[in-house]
Amino acid sequence: MNQQLKELLKPEVLNTVNGLELVARIIVEGFMSGSNKSQSMGAGQEFSQYRSYEPGDDLRQLDWKMYARSERYFIKQAEIETNITVKFMLDASNSMAYIESEGVSKLQYAKMLIAALAFLARKQSDTIGLFTVNNNHIGVVRPRFEQQQFMRFLNELVNVKSESTWKKNNGLEHLYNHHSKEMIVFITDLYDDNNDLQHFISRLKTPRNEVIVFHLMGKNEADLTYPGAFTFEDLETGQRLKVDTQIQQKTYASHMKDWIEVSRDWMLEKKINYQLVVMDEPVENVLRDFLKVRKSLVR
């Protein structure tokens, strides 16, 4: 992680619109060249190549100047610029307030991730929208392509508080959209009751859209590497447990691993992109790895 960014990763920076934007910019600038241009060819602004005319092709795409030079019919092809809608969804339940060893909380980490991705998306003229969900409040910034959208987006993002639990008893219907082509980035810690989140994520996926789930996980949280005996308190329910970590570490770690495996499996089944993010990894690395994988996955 570069030093400049490291200094900015403080709550007081991340909790301001400008600070978050700055952080996002710094994160993204490292790999601006890696954009998600469509590789399908067709009509567009950017010239790509010529191909021979075949019967049935649209005559409008015929390059007449080329015909004048060579007396052959060529179809002028350009890269198709796809403008997709990117919807960011953030689990704003209180479990996201988990902080690992005086670093940033999961929520702040998620904010950084979203801000960086949104910054990227804006650069590519994609439409961005934000949905933050907890049981008390559902924050919505509808996807629009406007000059102000990014600021509005960041403002909403900055003001998200982690509280309560994931939204219970449905009430999330308006988040589902089965019509348009879109990309949904959902950031969560996957802690829920009664598989609420699993249901939600399952319903997000349609044949037309792409769903990416970032699963945030602390390093100590994954391995239970707190030395000694502690009282653990559940951030959402307030329940307390006295736990000797040394005794439970192995079973806990294997439980955790199983859980992650299970989560990955059911998401894969539904063709949902599952990304496990361990929070000791810098945001830009996560982003870089993610984009690399995505690029290679694209048709």
Partner: protein, 417 residues
Amino acid sequence: MISFAHPEFLWGLTALSLPIAIHLLSRKEGKVIYLGSLRHLVESNTRQSISIRLNEILLLILRLIALTLLVCYVSGLQWTSSSGAQKKWLLIEKGLERNKKLQPVFDSLQLTGYETHFLSSNFSALSDSNNVKPIVSYWELIELLQSQGLTSAVVFSYNRQELFKGTRLSLPSEIQWIACDNLPSKFPVQSTIFKDNIAIVRAGYSGESGTYFETSSVTDASDQYFKFPNGTDSVASFPADTLRILLSSRDAFSRDVNVLRAALASLQDALPQWHLVIDSKPILSKYDWIFQIGSDSQNISTDNRVILKENPSVSLLVQSGAGQWQLTHRLTEGIALKANLSLQLAQMLFPALESWKRAALQDRRSMDGKMLWSAAASKNKGPVQAAAFTKNVDSLLMTLIVFVILFERIISHHRNQ
């Protein structure tokens, strides 16, 4: 025995309520870690929580101990007896141990655990009465007593005046000094036997306030020794001793000689045990004393010689060598009275004798209570002495405190993990 130099600091023990209050008020469950979800954890029961509770109690106890030790340290804990038993002495000056009046006091003190010793420089036990060293100075004895490390000492003493020698000390708080009146005694000092069993006896009377002497004649005395009818002390009787004196002078000095003769006559009256033979012309071949008043009689042998040699600036009789004396003034009645001629003559003629030592032995004068102890020094001496006693305990306490606090820190560190 445990005692405190500054008991007022013991109020610091109320601070013990602090850790107890903290312990009771804080239901500490160790460090709390907030976790997103406890779904993968199970309660680790009993062993750990019991150990945490034990740890808490151990910590509490350690803190209480540390506080107590600290308070003890501040309030100057004194461990005044090394063996744990109290060391209490009853000290009796030799002679008082058979005092009937004091016997009940001695008995009751012995019952409460006092060991009885003689008040002497070796503090010999009461049974060991033959081995009692004489007292040199009471004040020296007190210093010796202090070095014994006693919890308390009760001293019965005659307060004999002549034994208060050296630097006046203050009486340490652990020593109780009880003065007992010495019964006045009447004792014969010298007995001179004359014909027909008539004896001239010089007797001394010594009591609390002073000693004085008296001369009396006793008619039917034994010729061997003299003893008062109800007294225990006896003195050997000797016939009168003769002192031969030659007063050699010229006519011009007859007045001086007369004064001298009168003084000698008064001495003869006062000291019947001496027989003074006074010649003005050399008759005998040898004299004990020759007074040469303006004459020359060098050829007559003598032990002591007094020569008139005027020198108004010095006192009347001056010794100029072995057996050589000078009379520095012409003698008149006025000068004789003024210079106390007869007393000076007596001092010169009769040196200290056995009888004087007898008188000194029987000295029963006692020191006035106000004069016994130095009051000014007691303020300084007391705490210094106390510090010397508690020194070991202090360092021990300090070590303990450090050790306990270290232990507490280690345990508390373990707990927090």
